[in-house]
């Protein structure tokens, strides 16, 4: 047997080839995900500061955070932002998917247009929204005034707290809606037509068909989409960073943006790491829910 054939035989064993193929991914994830996670845990219980040796301080960072107005505000913002944005994305996503599932002219082009906000770099498209919400030249206000919906000069979107929150939520919905619509559409297409025909024969109107056939059959997809969206809406950074930098007076800060301000701009890495670790329980919940309810199968 030649050396090459022997090596080939050896590689054909699953016990050998498996670890060999999985190896690079495992090494990468251990070194650049698991290890940084451990560092984050350590940072969060230390007084780490850029360019200075750090010491263990127990839970002091977490206690300090709860005593700071900025953090308590951020904590509240994160739930308001995620709750409202995800709710709108679900409702609008179902509506849009139902429309896209019908006979349409230029179907492919319409789908392409609908998906566009989701593929364009968020940081760059948010610059466009920033300009649209500009205090002097806002096209949103111009249109609103022209249509008679707003009194001149219209709201200063990014300078007033509730308006600023509305603005960042709007952009998040704009960016996330395509994902909901296209995923739900894929599930709609898979619902057998016979179910609707049978229901129609039994006298169910469009409304009843939606509530008793469509919605129950969409549940699994809605669960997956909502769980994914929850984690990525909670951890959003780009939109708030570009649009408001967390302002005015912390009213739009999310964990990620506050964590950057504290950890990078002011150099208190320990506290910054503690802030971003607040995303971890959300992650654990989503992973647990996915594994428990959505993917019954292992992995």
């Amino acid at each position: 047997m030649t050396l090459r054939a022997r090596a080939g035989n050896w590689l054909d064993r699953e016990r050998v080839l498996g670890p060999l193929f999985g190896g690079p991914a495992v090494v990468l994830l251990l070194l650049l995900v698991a290890y940084p996670f451990c560092i984050a845990l350590y940072f969060s219980v230390s007084n780490a500061f850029i360019g200075r040796p750090s010491h263990f301080v127990g839970l002091r960072n977490f206690i300090n955070l709860w005593q700071s107005d900025a953090f308590r505000q951020t904590f509240q913002n994160a739930f308001v932002f995620t709750g409202i944005a995800v709710l709108f994305k679900v409702v609008m996503g179902i509506a849009l998917a139902l429309l896209l599932n019908e006979q349409l002219w230029f179907k492919r082009m319409i789908r392409g247009a609908v998906l566009l906000p989701w593929v364009i770099p968020t940081a760059l498209s948010t610059l466009g929204w920033w300009w649209m919400f500009n205090s002097l030249y806002s096209v949103v206000n111009w249109t609103g005034i022209a249509l008679g919906i707003m009194d001149p000069p219209g709201p200063n979107w990014l300078g007033q707290r509730y308006y600023a929150m509305a603005a960042v939520i709007t952009v998040n919905i704009w960016r996330g809606l395509p994902f909901f619509a296209i995923s739900i559409l894929a599930a709609l297409v898979a619902i057998p037509k016979e179910l609707y025909e049978a229901a129609e024969a039994d006298g169910a109107n469009a409304n009843a068909r939606f509530w008793h056939i469509t919605l129950p059959l969409l549940k699994p997809v809605l669960a997956v989409v909502v769980l994914f969206s929850t984690i990525f809406t909670f951890s959003d950074f780009n939109i708030v960073y570009v649009l408001t930098r967390g302002g005015p007076i912390n009213s739009t800060h999310l964990f990620a943006t506050l964590s950057r301000v504290v950890g990078i701009d002011t150099g208190r890495i320990g506290e910054g790491a503690a802030i971003s670790l607040y995303l971890f329980p959300i992650l654990v919940f989503v992973v647990w829910a996915q594994l428990r309810y959505v993917r019954k199968q292992a992995y």
Binding site: E14, A25, L28, F37, I110, L124, S125, L127, W131, L279
Partner: protein, 281 residues
């Protein structure tokens, strides 16, 4: 029943119902394009209608962006980082996905769970400690830090996506080849990968897009004008103090999206199928 008798009318109504969604999705791009083409005096005229160009379009903002800023350098950086990170991630992800989909070995299910969990880890959770790791490796303020760190979210993603594709390839096809004397690696290379080409295209497209669009790592790990990527360059370098050059800013946002738009136009169906296969981030 009245509606069903007039299919054309109901079809028109549907399009009318879609209109607000389309305006919502596309208006920002329309407005950005318009702004980038307007002359400054019209752009900053508070009495001018912002929805149209009245005083003639100009390419002045684009030429300023290209020749008076570092925009081309940022784009080159973005391309370099994206191509290297995408190539490496698709390669690592392909073999890992094959191992997960086909092979039985010690720890395979733990490995699978690990990939799934890291697939869900948002980049904003680990950017602070990763910045430290990057510094320790001597890659602070270097685009190579991005080549190194982008695979942390691209590899789980590619693995997850490709695992699904490999599972749809019937095992028998491979087994036949192996009965005929091919090794497993030959069977993978000559039989499985050619069948899984749509999956590979999909993984490559999404990895490219995710990598091109990445923002927080690029913003945190790089800062010099010759190291940053297009998104970071446009959002931070074009804004100086309180004076915003809106024309250039919009031109930068548009040109910075061009590579993605080109891919998107050509591979729209792959984007749709990849998204429904679980492409999330």
């Amino acid at each position: 029943m009245a509606v069903a008798k007039r299919p054309l009318l109901s079809k028109t109504m549907r399009h009318l119902a879609l209109l607000p969604f389309l305006v919502f999705a596309l208006f920002p791009f329309y407005h950005m394009t318009l702004t980038s083409l307007k002359q400054d005096k019209e752009l900053y005229d508070r009495h001018a209608a912002p929805l149209v160009i009245r005083q003639g379009p100009t390419l002045e903002h684009y030429s300023k962006l290209l020749w008076e800023t570092e925009f081309l350098t940022w784009t080159k950086n973005s391309l370099l980082v994206t191509l290297l990170a995408t190539g490496a991630s698709v390669a690592i992800g392909t073999v890992a996905a094959y191992a997960l989909a086909r092979l039985k070995f010690f720890g395979v299910s733990t490995f699978g769970t690990g990939i799934f969990v890291t697939y869900l880890v948002p980049t904003t959770l680990l950017f602070l400690p990763l910045a430290q790791v990057v510094n320790w490796l001597g890659l602070g303020d270097s685009k190579w830090a991005l080549v190194l760190t982008y695979p942390t979210f691209l590899v789980p993603f590619c693995t997850w996506l490709l695992m699904g594709y490999f599972r749809t390839v019937p095992k028998e096809v491979e087994e036949c080849a192996m009965v005929d004397g091919a090794t497993r690696i030959q069977a993978l290379w000559r039989i499985v990968l050619p069948i899984a080409v749509p999956g590979l295209v999909c993984a490559t497209l999404f990895a490219f897009t995710l990598s091109w669009n990445e923002f927080i790592y690029a913003l945190t790990f790089t800062s010099s004008s010759d190291q940053v990527t297009a998104s970071v360059g446009v959002t931070s370098e074009l804004i100086r103090g309180d004076i915003y050059f809106w024309g250039e800013l919009m031109a930068g946002a548009i040109l910075g999206s061009v590579p993605i738009v080109i891919l998107y136009v050509f591979f729209l169906d792959y984007y749709v199928s990849g998204l429904t296969a679980g492409a999330i981030k």
